[in-house]
Subunit: 235 residues, 2 copies
Amino acid sequence: MAEKGYGQFCPVAMASEVLGTRWTILVIRELLNGSHRFNDLRRGLPLISPALLSKRLRSLEDLGVVRRRIDPDGRTPLYELTEAGHELRPVIMSMGRWGQRWLESQLSMKNLDPSLLMWDMRRNLDPRPLPSHRVTIQFLYHDVVRGQSRWWLVIDNIENEVVVDLCQRDPGFDIDLYVVSDLRSMTAIWMGIMTVQEAIDRNKLTLTGTQHLKANMQTWLGLSVFATETKRVKP
Amino acid sequence: MAEKGYGQFCPVAMASEVLGTRWTILVIRELLNGSHRFNDLRRGLPLISPALLSKRLRSLEDLGVVRRRIDPDGRTPLYELTEAGHELRPVIMSMGRWGQRWLESQLSMKNLDPSLLMWDMRRNLDPRPLPSHRVTIQFLYHDVVRGQSRWWLVIDNIENEVVVDLCQRDPGFDIDLYVVSDLRSMTAIWMGIMTVQEAIDRNKLTLTGTQHLKANMQTWLGLSVFATETKRVKP
DNA sequence: CAGTATCCGATGCGATACTG
DNA sequence: CAGTATCGCATCGGATACTG
């Protein structure tokens, strides 16, 4: 590697020079998804080392893609996208669409991760079909090691604002719905490869609880933004 | 680097895992631009080593993005994009648009390369405003080292098909138009940062030859596909 | 919580030469 | 023309521990 660049004035070359370094695209994806704090970013990127995340954020700041601010409330830093950063959305979206269409889901299924899945669910959950009082949903992945197998989503209305909380410990509330599944199936549902109903029919998913929540799971469980993209390779 | 992956089932992560390796995006760009032969690809990627290009093509083949065929005419291999490969066009285009809008042109201008520029021009030249007989245009970059400073484009009609030839040696035909410029200015024109007329007005470009060719240069010189994208950073 | 500091190892990749 | 073979190094980034 005498020089790191491609030596080309072509905008594609320039762009892939800066976006092509490891983790960069995923850091931007997290920012686009609404993570702003250092440790929120880490949560969405469990395998990145803090040193590297820090380095990437700094480079992106130098590039004019990320702006670092101090949270007016606390004194903790916040990272947000600049206009240039927001305009990367089409890049990330087109990559995701292509990945969903053309990469074997088998590949995805090698990267199962209950923590990431639940974190995504928390983010995309659609509270509209839910009742207006507090709702607690317990997830149990029976094929996952203890300690990562049980999760609780608590959806609440606090001052007319919907708050979704994700817990790894029993929050102590009455459970409105129990969701029992294997991790693979739940991930497949999330990715749009299988519907809730199909999973139930194949005995991959068991729902126990209030009828309303059971019947509307496909709706309140907001899927991955790429779920509507049709697979073009063996699903 | 214990493992090379990101450990995420997210389609964006999967896609950037395979598209993020060095040179991959540019190899696909070249294939999208219509290069199919190994050495044509090398010409569009002067800094890649043949070993690495070979390796990338193989990976892309394994991925189902590239198909390798034997040219029926000769016995030389041809590389072409599969359907999955063609669907990467939105990814490359969005990256290019973003690069054109948000990356300082100064950066691009560090990567000036007359050979790449002429190769691009040859490819994008629009013959429609040209006369139907053979046209020869000589380019002279007065600030470029001898051996890379003079180029000839020969546009000809052979059996009702327009053929554009790029030469580094005088083809011997009468010259219909002389284009004299510095490499930086010509590249800026190509990238849509400056118009032909502006370059002439600023004494950055001199045209000598038939009136018709001079007057229509902005048209027959097909610009970079990203030239219409407006710069959002200092041009 | 939000990072830095340090170290070190794997490996990606460049350089060069060679072949069918 | 279309690659393969080989070598060796730089460097990227992972692991770990520590700090304001």
